[in-house]
Subunit: 199 residues, 2 copies
Amino acid sequence: MRKEKYLELKKYIEELKVISIKEKNNDPTFITSISYSITLNNGRTIEREKIMKGNKNGSAVIIMPITLENEILTVIEPRVFTEKKVAVSFPSGYIENGENPYMAALRELKEETGYVPKYLKLLDQFYQDEGCSEALNNSFIAFDSVCKYPQQLDSEEIIKIMTFNLEELEELERNGYINSANSKLTLEKGKKYIKRIMK
Amino acid sequence: MRKEKYLELKKYIEELKVISIKEKNNDPTFITSISYSITLNNGRTIEREKIMKGNKNGSAVIIMPITLENEILTVIEPRVFTEKKVAVSFPSGYIENGENPYMAALRELKEETGYVPKYLKLLDQFYQDEGCSEALNNSFIAFDSVCKYPQQLDSEEIIKIMTFNLEELEELERNGYINSANSKLTLEKGKKYIKRIMK
């Protein structure tokens, strides 16, 4: 990894590390669940519970933006329930009511990074947690992304932005900083396009 | 896809399709959540909620078993919250208390399929839902798998077993029957080993 990238990442990891984590007394309001009884065509009845996020199914978009300099834009965020507590991933977020995945991808990319792409291509769709959620996530690659706006973050969002090349992303995956199903699958499915561009 | 495989799969899809799904009145007991307040090194305090499954963090194992005939063993299950309602995936399940991922993989493979492998290799680890869960899933490839036992299913499990070759799995992924992050990532990370064996 380029030395300046290593130092910048190290600074963010230090800044975002968790000092304390306390269980709160109030009931969770974002993550809830619903029980169902399901009858199948073979006559069997089974029970399943479904995760809800903010009263929605939790479908999300993940966007791998490629800049004009042929670098890949990533976000560094606190991931407080993971071992490293801070992760490198791609811009992502939940699809809002009335949005299709393309609209959500453009909005999340703009909000989290200020970048706007020239082309947006759907790489893949996959269920996040197939046994107990309706969440269908959408991975995109965003070509010719240019920074046109400042970040616009929600009060609970803390997001640092960095660009890397493909070899650096592969190193971050090996070292466990890129560690989620969402990021890994987006990286796998996007690699062939990155390699084509980098040639 | 080989015609006999197509017909067998079609039969299972018909058998497992959902006839009715009803919301139950009782509170969910398996999927719950906890709220936390987290202080970071930069002084910011953020709130996050964490998904719990049966009072555990929900870490799971996914096993891609290769048979002595060089076919890949899959499971066909009702996935009632997905669009197709039935999915093709790999044997998988939650890690139980006191187990490491290897023990859980051997147990789940035996329970769901009756197969026992000669070698078990960890392909990858990834967080299932990085922002709101501790669940760290483990993908394995299980070489030289042989059927030695009958299936031993829980009362809520309905699992049909089928073998496919790599081209058929890729067709099932394109057609949306292999559609979860868990299966797709396991397939991606296992492909190079399958290709090596198939040569």
